[in-house]
């Protein structure tokens, strides 16, 4: 039980990669990549969790109260920002690919370009 959150992170990562490997649509592929990236949030926050710990915000909470790891929270924040902006960039590239190849199926694009 105590390793379940880590297993969930691993599963989310692998299921996202499975989606990327089998995708028939570039937009679906981009979203699968986002699913894979989401596993890192689960992993980071699981690593930083402290049993019975409060949020690392000490407004109205006595200093020295047991709190969860603030470092992994700030890393997740960076992670989310990068994930979203890269997703936007990939979707824009996907639009360009559709304009050039008239398809969003990665297999057909490969055939067209040779």
């Amino acid at each position: 039980m105590s390793y379940l959150p880590f297993a969930v992170a691993g599963w989310v990562c692998l299921i996202g990669l499975y989606g990327v490997a089998t995708s028939r649509n570039l937009i679906h592929l981009a979203l699968c990549l986002t699913v894979t990236q989401s596993s890192t949030y689960v992993l980071l926050l699981s690593v930083g969790y402290v049993r019975g710990g409060t949020a690392p915000i000490f407004k109205g909470v006595k200093l020295g109260t047991r709190a969860v790891d603030p470092v992994v929270q700030s890393l997740s924040l960076t992670d989310i920002v990068v994930s979203v902006t890269v997703l936007a960039l990939i979707l824009a590239l996907g639009l360009d690919v559709f304009g050039a190849a008239k398809t969003v199926d990665p297999d057909e694009i490969a055939e067209l370009q040779g």
């Binding site: 691993g10 915000i57 470092v71 920002v81 936007a88």
Partner: protein, 244 residues
């Protein structure tokens, strides 16, 4: 490579990766029992040192502030890439389409635009005291503003989401962060060193440079997200690539 071969190769690789995950996770401290020294230290020194009650904000804008500078520029570069890729063939205002909102939806929705933007600004303003911060608040501001398009029409949203107007704002946010860092350098301190007094705990005047960095990133994130929204909305209304 056929689809079948690809799936077989993927499953083989995935099994290997799963095994490595299992090995790695077995070496981690059990869930909820690990307490990293760095985390413990920051939870105890951030408030006395920086007078910032939100320790996550103190890490983002101070202890790991240099990291956030990189993040700001990842955001900036990605948005520049999207604008470049989706640039219109000829710049013209797309005609209004999708004006399907009912009067009731408009009435409630326009009110929510103000509420959404206000919540975003509040999240930025108090980000280093209570939960929130420049990144979270910036997204909320942009989401509030883009609501105007969904409940109204493009011409109502256009003045807010115009790339020519938002570009300088985004640059101000990203550049402002770097300038605040450089001010420390000019004062003879390391880059991005927190150079103002810590102020009093739990008030808006706390954290030294943190409020300024927080606002710089809030402005950048809000402008960057609005640019992204508005580029994709314009692309939807007026596809530039119909002729290939």
């Amino acid at each position: 490579m056929t689809r079948r071969t690809r799936i077989v190769i993927f499953l083989t690789a995935a099994l290997g990766l799963a095994a490595l995950f299992g090995w790695a996770f077995a070496g981690l401290p059990a869930f909820g029992n690990g307490s990293h020294v760095y985390a413990f230290l920051l939870n105890h020194v951030a408030v006395p040192e920086r007078h910032t009650t939100n320790v996550v904000a103190a890490i983002v804008f101070d202890y790991r502030g240099f990291d956030t500078l990189g993040e700001e520029f990842i955001l900036f570069t990605a948005v520049a890439g999207v604008v470049l890729l989706l640039r219109p063939v000829e710049r013209e205002d797309p005609e209004d389409r999708g004006t399907t909102a009912s009067d009731a939806l408009r009435f409630v929705g326009v009110g929510m635009v103000g509420a959404g933007v206000l919540v975003g600004l509040w999240l930025i303003a108090f980000g280093y005291i209570t939960p929130g911060g420049g990144f979270q608040g910036g997204v909320a501001v942009a989401a509030g503003a883009v609501l105007l398009y969904f409940v109204s029409n493009y011409s109502a949203f256009y003045p807010l989401g115009h790339v020519d107007g938002l570009d300088p704002v985004e640059a101000l946010g990203a550049g402002g962060y770097a300038v605040i860092g450089a001010v420390a350098l000019v004062s003879g301190l390391p880059f991005l060193a927190n150079l103002l007094g810590p102020g009093s705990v739990g008030t808006l005047v706390s954290g030294g440079s943190i409020p300024f960095l927080n606002w710089a990133s809030g402005i950048e994130v809000a402008a960057a997200n609005l640019i992204l929204f508005s580029e994709f909305i314009r692309e939807y209304l007026h596809p530039a690539r119909q002729d290939g």
